[in-house]
Symmetry: C2
Subunit: 387 residues, 2 copies
């Protein structure tokens, strides 16, 4: 990708040593995330700054009273490059201290809210050594997989057990036949979970038995929550299995992080399933699926705020959350994302009373008048006459 023009370079921010006396723990630096943003040259500087704020403190900087937060926590736009065709590469220095040591929180700070904006792609992240040390990367890697396959200087080979719906015994037979063809690894189809037709335990035992004494290795697919996955790895290990399949975006980054740390002898093969989650309609994802999962209330960025959901999307989302069903309680819609006090009447008329209004940054803007501003918010909601 050719960078046509470097239009802004605010400062060299990587790495920034801790200059103040504030205690941010052991992680004191910043790391650079690159976002590709659709914009024009007149608006890109403001858009870049908005991303830096969204991915760090998520509130108006004017409302921040603590100078150490402004200095050390707020994201900083490092530079902006025009990539041509209306796309800019924006590099933002994010504070490592905001990550803690958690994989999901890393994603959250990289792209949590910004992923909801249609004009942005998270294009790159420079992983600094302190994050490499926290997460650790592959415990076995290419060399470890080559050792498992006893194969050097050539590509490794792999095939997949499918279709789902076959019994464990039939999958085991299939594994035998692949092994007879000399394949290095056999993975479960990523659709194989713990279904009744081939429960994980039966499948692993059948496939391990089918491959016993052979060079071919079987990689079962993990599913369920962390407890279930731990039990699955433990069972697989008892059957002599040393490599497993996991879909990080389905399992959750923190789940995978815990497994990798907890089972250092196991190698992990990552599956990209659900790598394109943005193309679930928001009303379905947030209104229906989050509710189905047990959310009693669902936050979403309402129309007219910082995010691009249309009124129609918001209406459908709230309707899905509140849809009466005999088999499920209703969930409370929580419109948010840059709401102001001035919009309270309009928003209440739009959503009706079975709603929770969430206003954050706009109240905090009142600073020393926070309580009064909050009281104005709550009394306005209480006094509202619905149209």
């Amino acid at each position: 990708m050719t960078v046509n023009r470097l239009i802004v370079r605010l400062s060299c921010v990587h790495p920034i040593a801790l200059r103040g006396r504030h205690d941010w723990g052991t992680m004191t630096g910043r790391f650079l995330a690159t976002y590709h943003v659709r914009a024009d040259s007149g608006t890109i500087a403001a858009r870049a700054q908005a991303i830096a704020v969204e991915q760090s403190v998520e509130m108006p900087l004017e409302a921040i009273e603590a100078p150490e937060v402004l200095r050390d926590i707020v994201g900083q736009v490092a530079d902006i490059a025009d990539l041509g065709a209306g796309v800019f590469a924006v590099r933002i220095a994010l504070a490592t201290a905001t990550i803690g040591r958690d994989g999901a929180q890393f994603l959250n700070m990289l792209f949590g809210n910004t992923s909801l904006h249609d004009d942005v792609v998270l294009a790159d992240v420079e992983i600094p050594p302190e994050l490499a040390a926290v997460f650790g990367g592959p415990r076995h890697g290419i060399a470890g997989l080559r050792r498992r396959a006893a194969a050097n200087g050539r590509a490794l080979t792999c095939s997949a057990l499918k279709p789902q719906g076959l019994s464990a015994d039939r999958l085991g037979e299939l594994a035998s036949r692949f092994a007879a063809g000399g394949v290095d690894f056999i993975k479960d189809d990523h659709g194989l979970a713990d279904q009744t037709y081939s429960p994980f335990a039966d499948r692993v035992r059948a496939c391990a038995a089918a491959l016993r004494g052979q060079a071919t290795r079987y990689m079962p697919s993990l599913s369920g929550n962390l407890d279930a996955m731990r039990a699955q790895i433990t069972l697989a290990r008892e059957e002599g299995i040393d490599t497993v399949l996991i879909a990080p975006l389905l399992a959750g980054f923190s789940t995978m992080q815990a497994l990798v740390a907890g089972f250092p002898d196991i190698a992990f093969l990552a599956h990209p399933s659900f790598g394109g989650a943005s193309r679930i309609a928001p009303d379905l994802l947030i209104g229906t699926l989050f509710r189905l999962l047990g959310a009693d209330a669902v936050i979403f960025p309402t129309h007219g705020g910082r995010f691009g959901y249309t009124p129609e999307t918001c209406r459908r989302l709230a309707a899905a959350a509140r849809l009466k069903r005999v088999d499920m309680r209703r969930a409370l819609p929580v419109p948010a994302g840059g709401m102001t006090l001035a919009r309270v009447p309009e928003i209440l008329d739009f959503y009706g009373p079975d709603t929770m209004l969430l206003i954050g940054g706009s109240l905090l803007m009142a600073r020393e008048r926070l309580t009064e501003e909050t009281a104005a918010f709550t009394s306005r909601v209480a006094a509202h006459q619905y149209r």
Copy 2:
């Protein structure tokens, strides 16, 4: 949305009772998922069928020998409607038996691989009673949240503690001031995790103390893996907290499912963070981030197969996975997604020997000649002369 024309209606498939004698467990029906697909009228029928296969057995139907799998497990195109402007609504009846009882597996079967296709949006899902019963939906819902707030007939109010970087004590003070303004709920900013500047335990104790004896309720944000979240809820509950914040797409659907089931007295507020994950560049997500997390090998859909990644994306992805770093082992790229034996030489020249080739459906097409076809695959890889 207006449906202009109903162009195909193959069959009425919902619900389908189990007709055969095969044991699929207690879940024997199908449920309808609606996908909006960009296509033209000449190709939409084939594209719809491809999605039905991708989201069920993920292999050529000609290679499936078990009639009960073809009948009861393979996705069925129920109907296709032309929405105009080159978009079609495709309804596919998926087999409930493929879900098991797991939240992440539900997402996997709904949209796992298809999320990687740029031409498809998951637009709707009809949740049948058997899935509502499995997942359970809100345990408290609107009525339960109203009881917590002791508020009827009006909208509820909520604000947020931020910015991150403040100490627990200062967040507690902020909570006091919001409470003095009469807000019903105060949530953590979703960026607040377990950082050194306001560790979860300190923050919860400070905010709970600040609100003790007041009507306002504090909702702390959960982070980390299932173990960590369980400990966080337990600690919060000891402080009298009965409602928490969770981001299902960061935590993983199975994680949230376990928490909702495990803490029936707690109400859950869902945050949409990371709801737009598709716009992470694939080379970054799969090549860099999965590796950072500890994946020893990473599967991805290679160019020229069933998915739309370009050769350049694939090259960058493999390069990121194999990039030499002193602080991290290299991960093995595993190109997949509709590869055939005929493409082995080309793929090997493209990726070089530090690669694992994954061929599934195309080998299974050989049926009774599976072992011979596999042997042809493995010997071709072993004998390849890299250009």
